[in-house]
Amino acid sequence: MKKEAKQLTVKIDQVKKVRNDIFLLSFRSAYIAQTAKPGNFLHLKVNTTILRRPLSIHRVKDDLIYILFKQRGRGTKALAEKKKNDQLDLIGPLGNGFKVKRRENSILVAGGIGVAPLLFLAQKLAKRPMSKVPASPAGGQRSTPDNIILMGAKDKKELVCEEEFKKLGFQVKIASEDGSKGYKGFVTDLLKKRLRTSDFGLRANIYACGPKDMFDQINKILKNYKNINTQLSFEQFMGCGLGVCSACVIPTKTGYKKVCQDGPVFNLKEIY
């Protein structure tokens, strides 16, 4: 089905507390389930705020849509307080999502709550058909490309979804800044190591979502690996979400681009 954003009223199925301030909200929408692509977002109306809040699609299971979010301000607080059967007004699916590469290996890089859109992406990547991986160590046998996710956060409380990625066949590597789980340091250190020590990365696509500092680091690392295709999902304070108000721009090499319409996913080469 062709993606066309619609304004819909849906009924909340559940809002579940995953960790301290991380919540998982779900609702049913056959339309979103059929049309949404990984990296797309939904613009949710929150009755306590003036503007809508853009949140990416975390996961789709049949016609259940999941949104994973961290409670940060008034908007996410109101969303966290939603109850089963509450109505939710949304516009979506919106934005340019990740381009899912059919054949190559994947390295997902998640910074904090940036893990949110990557699970939906992982669902699609895991479902890719068996194909010949061009230079696989086994020598060109038919096999599914390999997937790995590098997850980073300040501490272990912020690390969520590990099991979900494992269930999809992803290898999971974890970094925490305080060392409370996995490698002590930044998730980008894991990426650097990966690329240095294995040729897996050289045939992979990178898909990342997290803070801007993380993207800056990824860009620095990739200066030595210019051929790795890398897609980054950005966030920005947003107005309409529909491309008309020009509020949510970020600087790119070809001028300001709208996160809501040109993004939220941009190729690294468009930005740096």
Partner: protein, 301 residues
Amino acid sequence: MDLAVNIGKLTLKNPIICASGTFGFGDELKGLVDFSSIGAVVSKTITLEPREGNIPPRIYETNCGVINSIGLANPGVDSFIKEKLPALGKLKTKHIVSLGGSFKKEYKQLVEKLDKEDKVDAFELNLSCPNLGKKKLISQSQKLSSDLIKNLRKLTKKTLIAKLTPEVTDIVKIAKAVSDAGADAVSMVNTYFSLAIDIEKKKSYLGNITGGYSGPAIKPMSLYRVWQVANSVKLPVIGGGGIINYKDAIEFFLAGSAAVSLGTINLTDPNSAKDILKEVKKYMKKNKMKNLGDLRRSFNA
């Protein structure tokens, strides 16, 4: 019930106008929005040359309003004529094109380029963008506003609407000046100068530091100014500033507006014009009002 309203030579089928900057250049929202229930759409402000706009972040929501600092990002008039204008005639609404510039000659050239275009139903002169880093806005000066409008009046027979800033000592004086200079209507108000600071980073939330304030917070102040002007000039006043529902719209009619303008609410509900129109009609029916004049005149102060 007659909801038609005349703004200069332009007749709108209903008095609900979508404000500049909240509806794109024309048809961007056609998949989501029922244009047939909108009286007119004012385009995002067009300038002579393309403008990239201000440094992001460009928008920040406060407790009761929204601060923006877009900085008139637009593709420039030539690109507007080539790429946006052709689609406009197909939508069942009127198109008011908002024009912006720093100098008289820029406005002159804009009007010259657009006057011959049939799909442009009227001009709104943005004399009040707060995000250009200039010391003075045109509509903060009676003389600058008056001179500009006198000049443009000679160039076009299309309806000329002056969009005013609320940031003046006496807005009635400015409204009188643009009226005497030949404007057909005033649209008011543009946003208020504002600032919001992130106390952790000790920096403004906006890349451009300051921005223009809109949304529910500004409604009472805007309503007051509309009431002042509507009581002192004969020109139709397009009133707005913080309207988010039909009750707000009714207040602006009662204060003397000939038409109302929806801004920030469009960002949240692109179909708000349709919803508000429906409720305004219900209100008028309940109050046995046959036209907008009945509604306007019913204010007992």
